[in-house]
């Protein structure tokens, strides 16, 4: 009996010991480790803001000492490098400047956040930098957990030089900035003029109500004349990008989502937007297939010439303009070649619509999405220093100009856009810069990923008519409230 008892006791003690060992977070000896980074004087040879916003980026003083012995740094790139020519170009420039080789793993956007958390939770020091490709939803959680290295080059002047809609989202409660923006995508409205014309839509839709009417007409026309897998409007409802659509509907009515720190969709504007987007599927103006589409899928459907309209990334103009990636875009339905000057075919881009005719034009607004780039706090100090340099370079005017011209991503540094030399090389510069001006940015609280998954699920069920849309929204919202209670 005593033997059994002692075995039992031993088991319990072992369990406790292991659990405590596993759950206890190791204290870091932070003081000594910071040294390498402290060797860098971010305000020399000139102020950080001047180093960053000049036509050519200048490395800060002391960088060589801080990164001594670092031969390569490694980070998670969002998606394939083949799709990021500007990033590749910037890496090349950085390597020439510093002699530090930049390596990356291609991590698809569907699993990027998982893998990033994976690295942080396990304090793996082999990955030195990482990007969060839906920064607005994910960043607060990561900063809150203490999983990002503060970026000392964010001086007050630097903060002032970058968009004040986004910088707060990168800032922690302690006032330090923990991330930089890697790539940025605003939304613009895409349409195919020849389809609208053929379907009898007289003017380019300016409000979401007009979009809906046009979508029903073009869908009917396309089904009759082109085939069953041609659609009026397409959007993504599989991934968190669905939220961007809902947000566009809400922002276009002049409202916001986050209220008292909780994402709130069950508001008058939220209900309008929810009914609108589920209605597009229920009325057949958008196919049920949208439920299985990510950002990549639906925009590909449009650029392959299978849809009349979409609210798409401003960056997608580069895909549409490329005859290889989007062969159908160069010809219109009347059989004529629509290829005009570079970037023009049978497609066009305008600012996002406003809700209805009563709204002011300043509400032609959508969400702005960005990839946040962070440095792994668990990496070795020299590697962190090297990664900080790389992050700094990535947000400089020089690097941003490459993003804008080569890849078509919006520029995080606004001065890039206003530089006439750069602007003339950009396709559709007017609607794009207009959409950046009206764009709305909100930072979402921790737990948003779970909230998003809930919304995506309820959206899907109500879009196929399994549940009444408003009832679905109410249930979704009460589950979201439950997360934050």
């Amino acid at each position: 009996m005593t033997k059994r008892l002692s075995i039992l006791l031993l088991t319990v003690v072992l369990m406790l010991a292991f659990t405590m060992g596993i759950t206890a977070e190791g204290q870091k000896e932070a003081d000594e480790e910071q040294n390498a980074i402290d060797l860098i004087n971010w305000d020399a040879p000139k102020a950080a803001v001047d180093r960053l916003t000049g036509d050519e980026y200048v490395l800060p003083e002391g960088w060589e000492a801080a990164t001594e012995g670092v031969e390569e740094i490694f980070y998670f790139n969002s998606g394939g490098m083949g799709g990021d020519p500007a990033t590749a170009k910037n890496i090349e420039l950085f390597q020439e400047m510093t002699g530090i080789e930049v390596k990356w793993a291609e991590v698809s956007s569907e699993i990027l956040f998982q893998k990033t958390l994976n690295v942080l939770v396990s304090k793996d020091e082999s990955v030195h930098g990482m990007s969060l490709d839906s920064g607005p939803y994910e960043l607060r959680e990561v900063i809150g957990a203490g999983w990002a290295e503060p970026m000392p080059f964010w001086t007050d002047e630097v903060k002032a030089a970058y968009p004040d809609s986004i910088v707060p989202a990168l800032t922690g409660d302690d006032g330090k900035v923990y991330a930089t923006v890697d790539t940025m995508r605003s939304y613009v409205f895409y349409y195919r003029p020849s389809w609208l014309e053929a379907a009898g839509v007289e003017k380019v839709p300016e409000t979401w109500q007009e979009v809906r009417e046009a979508a029903i007409k073009t869908d009917a026309w396309a089904k009759e004349n082109l085939g069953q897998d041609y659609y009026g409007i397409v959007f993504p409802a599989k991934s968190y990008n669905l939220l961007h659509m809902l947000q566009a509907g809400i922002y276009s009515q002049g409202a916001k989502v986050v209220q008292d720190g909780i994402p709130s969709y069950n508001t008058p504007e939220g209900r309008n937007s929810w009914k609108y987007w589920t209605g597009l599927v229920r009325d057949g103006a958008a196919p049920e297939a949208v439920l299985g589409w990510t950002w990549n899928d639906y925009q590909n459907v449009f650029s392959r010439g299978k849809a009349a309209m979409m609210l798409g990334f401003s960056t997608w103009v580069n895909v549409c303009a490329d005859p290889e990636k989007a062969p159908a875009m160069q010809e219109n339905v009347f059989g004529e070649s629509a290829a005009g000057p570079i970037g023009k075919g049978d497609w066009a881009v305008v600012q996002p619509p406003k809700w209805d005719a009563s709204e002011p034009d300043s509400n032609r607004a959508a969400f702005i999405d960005f990839d946040a780039f962070m440095v792994n706090p668990f990496a070795k100090p020299e590697q962190k220093a090297a990664m900080l340099l790389f992050s700094e370079f990535k947000m400089s005017k020089q690097a941003m100009a490459n993003e804008l011209i080569i890849e078509g991503n919006e520029a995080f540094y606004p001065g890039t856009y206003t530089d006439p030399k750069i602007r003339e090389q950009i396709m559709w510069a007017d609607p794009r810069s207009a959409s950046v001006d009206t764009t709305v940015m909100e930072a979402f609280p921790p737990g948003s990923m779970k909230a998003n998954d809930t919304l995506i699920e309820y959206f899907g069920r109500s879009a196929i008519g399994k549940i009444d849309p408003i009832k679905a929204l109410e249930e979704a919202q009460s589950e979201i409230d439950g997360i934050y209670r």
């Binding site: 088991t11 072992l14 369990m15 406790l16 292991f18 659990t19 596993i22 759950t23 569907e110 956040f113 998982q114 958390l117 994976n118 939770v121 959680e141 809150g144 957990a145 999983w147 085939g227 069953q228 897998d229 409802a237 599989k238 196919p287 049920e288 297939a289 949208v290 439920l291 299985g292 589409w293 299978k306 921790p446 737990g447 990923m449 779970k450 998954d453 809930t454 995506i456 699920e457 309820y458 959206f459 899907g460 069920r461 879009a463 196929i464 589950e479």
Partner: protein, 290 residues
Amino acid sequence: MKMRNIPDSKFGMLLSLPGLFLLVLWVGIPLLILISVSFLRFNVLEPTQFIGFDNYIHLFKDRVFRNALLRTITFFAGSTLLTFLLAYPTAWSLSRIRKGGTTLRTLVMFPWAVPLIVSGFIWGWMFNAAYGVINHLFVTIGLFESNINFIGQSGTAMLAVVIADAWTRVPFMTILTLAGLEAISRTLYESADMDGADIFQKTRYITLPLAKGPILTGLLITSVFSFRTIDAIFSLTKGGPARGTYVLGMLNLDYIYNYIEFGRAAAVSVYLALICLLIAAVYIYFLLKE
């Protein structure tokens, strides 16, 4: 030699020591940790705290968990059934084929070499709404009017993941069933033939009862595997659309890697293990019932 002096029972213990060591280290300790963690509130934003059965109760009341449980059962039952429906005729035919039997057996095994994650991609490509070969075949023979987006609709998406899963499990099930069929003596069938029994009677009274052991073992392994393996879902639908293929394994993974709530993840894991053992117990009961 010293070894010789060790009594048999000690020898057995010594020799199986590495195995025991693995057993304790590899399974015992993780299991203990799993159970301990399931009683904690353990995430990154709040301090870690003992909360008793709260995680279990929360999950039990959670709609997402209950739906996932339902989907899991649909998924594993569908996969097991489909596997058996394909494997049994295959094994039966193989047991009757003499000429070219070896080649056929090798060919039947090919899908086994396909990692489930790859199976998901393959079927995803074949089910593709725009270019998929299955759509083309069905439209050509007039079964569908136009292309169907299998992966994008809740009902058909479940069917698609079941097919992708079962496809790789058929070979294993076939071999086991075949083993059972070949162990049955020919003379039994011959005497049944003389009594004028038809094939249904022979299957009912000879084949199934006598091959029961291997078939049930195969079904057990197939069920337990498809119950817990989410690779095909992971690469085909990621749980969508509208969580139509969202099984417990996906929920577990989300708690670990998207929501970072380890306590909840552990509780899901424990539920998962318990249900798996329950399924196994049912089979083993039938296997030993005699």
